[in-house]
């Protein structure tokens, strides 16, 4: 779509202008606040500085173009000139920082010690953390991260857009950013249709009981016959991924608890054995498993894939959860035991909540693995239990490629992972427990 080798493509100009704007608007207020100005003033001036930087960047890049052309590798030339321009602007920014004068103070009492932050620090922080230079640098780094994140999200955004494009919009060149959104792609994805001749269309249009989906498709002369395979595939994906996730997390939790708390003969060897199932690339065993599954009648069944994914995730979940359970002092359960609870109750009411962070992390990882798995799904299923990953590529059949439908398929495929991760993010982010245990 875009390439670095295209001289100053609009996308990159927009992208970097945005970056410099962000740098200006986040780093400058830090300096201004430390010199005693209001934050708002800093942001305003920062935005202006950011704009200036963006313009400067474009100008510098253009100025460096002849130099870059001297190299016979255009990509390298562009990269080099971008790095040089960025460095020049950064140096200028760092210099300009000194130009910001200290604000005047009305009362002598508010003047802080030289070099310190302007406002009293009323929160917990190390001295170097409130250093304006560091904070400004932090802001620049944050801008870089935000822009990188934006870059990674661009394909996803583009995909979401394509999902709502009509066929001509989807294949238009140059690509369209503004377009008429339509549900065509999504309906195409979810239905089987029949192409109609003009006569048939006229008759079909007379129908009273057409719903909105029928009408949308009527525009391109198609009649909806029924549900497409994709719905089935997605349902299979959901069933298989969630069942295997629940199974591997449950089994993993129980065995991790046992490994963590009980005397088990050969514990180390067992743990190593569990880990060793991870040591060979799964592809190696696809053929043997295929043959086995055919014999066992597990080929193209939900149970087959669930079993396989559970087995694969189990090693991971046992090891990950064991680490988290090891962290929980055994006194926690013992306290519950003397207080009149059974071991199972103590496990459910104490160990599980305390290990929630670990359980959440494991759930997300197991789900993503099972959800994304492609090779086994391709080999071990045909129709009944086929999941979405092997199905999406197969939608690019012969003839017309329905890009909108494919984009919609990928989008739908993305949603469950996003939901699971979002639902559990509180635990994922919480990290280490705010433990009440005191190590003395």
């Amino acid at each position: 779509m875009f390439g670095l080798d295209i001289p100053l493509p609009e996308f990159w100009i927009a992208y970097f202008s945005l970056f410099w704007l962000l740098v200006g608007a986040t780093a400058t207020p830090v300096i201004f606040r430390h010199r005693g100005y209001s934050r708002l003033l800093g942001i305003l001036i920062g935005a202006v500085i950011g704009l200036v930087c963006a313009v400067l960047f474009v100008v510098l890049l253009a100025a460096l173009k002849p130099l870059a052309d001297l190299l016979d590798r255009p990509l390298l030339g562009t990269l080099l000139s971008m790095v040089i321009s960025a460095a020049v602007i950064l140096v200028l920014l760092v210099r300009a920082r000194r130009l910001v004068p200290e604000a005047r103070y009305d009362t002598a009492g508010t003047r802080p010690a030289t070099g310190g932050p302007h406002t009293p620090v009323t929160y917990s922080a190390r001295v170097d953390q409130v250093d304006p230079n560091r904070q400004a640098w932090q802001a620049i780094r944050a801008s870089v991260v935000v822009m990188l994140a934006a870059l990674t999200l661009t394909p996803v955004v583009w995909m979401s857009m394509t999902a709502f494009k009509s066929y001509p919009d989807a294949v238009a060149s140059p690509p369209k950013v503004a377009f008429d959104p339509t549900m065509e792609g999504i309906i195409t994805l979810l239905t089987r249709r029949r192409q109609m001749t003009d006569e048939q269309k006229a008759v079909y249009a007379q129908n009273e009981d057409l719903n909105w989906a029928d009408r949308v498709m009527l525009k391109s002369g198609q009649a909806i016959l029924g549900q497409s395979d994709y719905v089935k595939r997605l349902r299979n994906s959901l069933i298989i991924a969630s069942t295997s996730t629940v199974l591997s997390v449950t089994l993993g939790l129980l065995s991790a608890y046992a490994f963590s708390r009980f005397r088990i003969p050969g514990k180390g060897d067992l743990l190593f054995f569990i880990l060793s199932t991870r040591m060979l690339p799964p592809v190696v065993v696809t053929i043997p498993i295929f043959l086995m599954y055919r014999q066992l009648g597990l080929y193209d069944t939900h149970a087959g894939l669930i079993l396989l994914y559970t087995a694969f995730n189990l090693s991971f979940s046992v090891w990950l959860l064991k680490g988290f359970i090891d962290e929980i002092p055994k006194e926690y359960e013992e306290a519950a035991l003397v207080d009149g609870y059974t071991r199972l109750q103590a496990f459910i009411r104490i160990v599980m909540p305390e290990a929630m962070t670990g359980i959440a992390a494991t759930t997300v990882f197991c789900f993503i693995f099972a959800w994304n798995e492609y090779a086994f799904a391709l080999m071990l299923t045909a129709d009944k239990a086929r999941t979405a990953p092997p199905h999406i590529p197969s939608m690019i059949g012969t003839g017309l490629v329905e890009w909108a439908a494919i984009a919609a398929g990928s989008l739908f495929f993305l949603i469950p992972v996003v939901i699971v991760t979002f639902a559990l993010r509180k635990y994922l982010l919480r990290g280490v427990t705010f433990g009440a245990i005191r190590q003395g």
């Binding site: 926690y332 013992e334 306290a335 207080d339």
Partner: protein
């Protein structure tokens, strides 16, 4: 309420004894302190009483009922752990209510009991905080509340004050003692701090190297230590122990003169050593008195002012140092020779071979 009895209770980890066979009876309403240096098996003993650790052999009786193999939850005992073990995912209130919920108490009862116990421990204002946000003292109070709320038959406390600051420890010590006086609940309290043990215990069980050294009231433990270990371990500084030779009604200290044994000790010493034998003479710092007429001579090695008294460190001729309390006023420059005498009622004798105390046959 409850009486706890340990009959020849023993715990081995592999071949290592964590607790050698011990007998102990904790009477109903008694406050018994297990005292000993780190690693002597105090925690293990407590855990065996609670059922968190199995016994290797022996029997544990609760109110005469054999509970050796009973599940911890069937013993009706509350345990306060060394590092509190408060559940970090629950608020203080939920932590305190947790044991009651196990008993299936109604909501009103739970609320009422939690309110009662938090009023008692003055933690009403922190009930909705999570343990992680509480100070050590408050965490300790919550842990105590969690133990108290259930009104168990007995309390087991494993160094509950160990994680607290020194001056706060004093406050909490008084609070725990006060709680015990109010509730008269049978309590076994573990500590390695002999001052704490002396201050709190109705009786003290001194342990060392996995074995019980002595069981007795604080006074007995202090004044009549059963062994050299107890004599050294109790008191700060511990009992002064001087090796000498018993002969002809006197203990001869090498080059430092002889100490005439008080008459009530002659018979027991004769029984123990005949007329000639090595003996260890023991006396507490406050049993010695520096006087010009004293029978024993020494040089002043150092002296520290303790506010209300001065502790003199005296060097005997064989270079043993003894600690002697003297009044605040008297001053003894370092290096001067002094004479001191011992209060005849407060000297004790030990057999260096067995390390045990010589017991007077008839106690006055």
């Amino acid at each position: 309420m409850a009486e706890i009895q340990l009959l020849q209770v023993e715990k081995k980890f592999g071949e290592v004894h964590a607790v050698k066979p011990m007998d102990l009876t904790v009477h109903d309403g008694e406050f018994v302190v297990l005292l000993g240096p780190s690693g002597c098996g105090k925690t293990t003993t407590l855990r065996m009483i609670s059922g968190l650790e199995t016994t290797t052999s022996g029997t544990i009786l609760l109110n005469g009922r054999d509970v050796t193999w009973a599940h911890p939850s069937e013993r009706d005992i509350a345990f306060v752990f060394q590092f509190f073990a408060l559940y970090s995912h629950m608020t203080a209130r939920q932590n305190i209510a947790f044991p009651l919920q196990a008993q299936g108490e109604s909501k009103e009862t739970v609320n009422q009991r939690v309110a009662e116990v938090s009023r008692l421990l003055q933690i009403e204002h922190i009930l909705d905080a999570r343990p992680g946000a509480l100070s050590g003292g408050d965490q300790q109070r919550v842990a105590l509340a969690r133990a108290l709320v259930r009104r168990p038959a007995a309390f087991l406390m494993d160094e509950p004050l160990g994680a607290l600051d020194a001056d706060f420890r004093e406050t909490m010590r008084a609070e725990i003692k006060r709680l015990h006086i109010d509730n008269q609940a049978t309590t076994v309290y573990v500590t390695h701090d002999q001052i704490e043990a002396m201050a709190m215990g109705d009786r003290i069980v001194v342990m060392s190297a996995a074995a019980v050294q002595q069981v007795g009231t604080p006074t007995e433990i202090y004044h009549d230590p059963a062994s050299l270990f107890v004599a050294r371990f109790i008191g700060s500084p511990g009992m002064n122990l001087v090796t000498g030779r018993y002969h002809g009604g006197q203990v001869h200290l090498p080059d430092c003169g002889a100490y005439t044994v008080p008459p009530q000790w002659i018979a027991p010493l004769n029984t123990a050593f005949g007329d000639d034998g090595d003996v260890i003479l023991g006396f507490r710092p406050e049993a010695a008195q520096v006087t010009p007429q004293g029978a024993l001579s020494a040089t002043v090695y150092a002296s520290d002012l303790h506010g209300s008294y001065t502790m003199l460190h005296l060097e005997l001729c064989d270079q043993t140092i003894v600690h002697v309390r003297s009044s605040r006023q008297s001053s003894h420059p370092i290096g001067t020779a002094v004479q001191f005498d011992l209060d005849p009622a407060m000297v004790r004798f030990f057999d260096p071979a067995t390390e045990a105390a010589i017991v007077p046959e008839v106690r006055a």
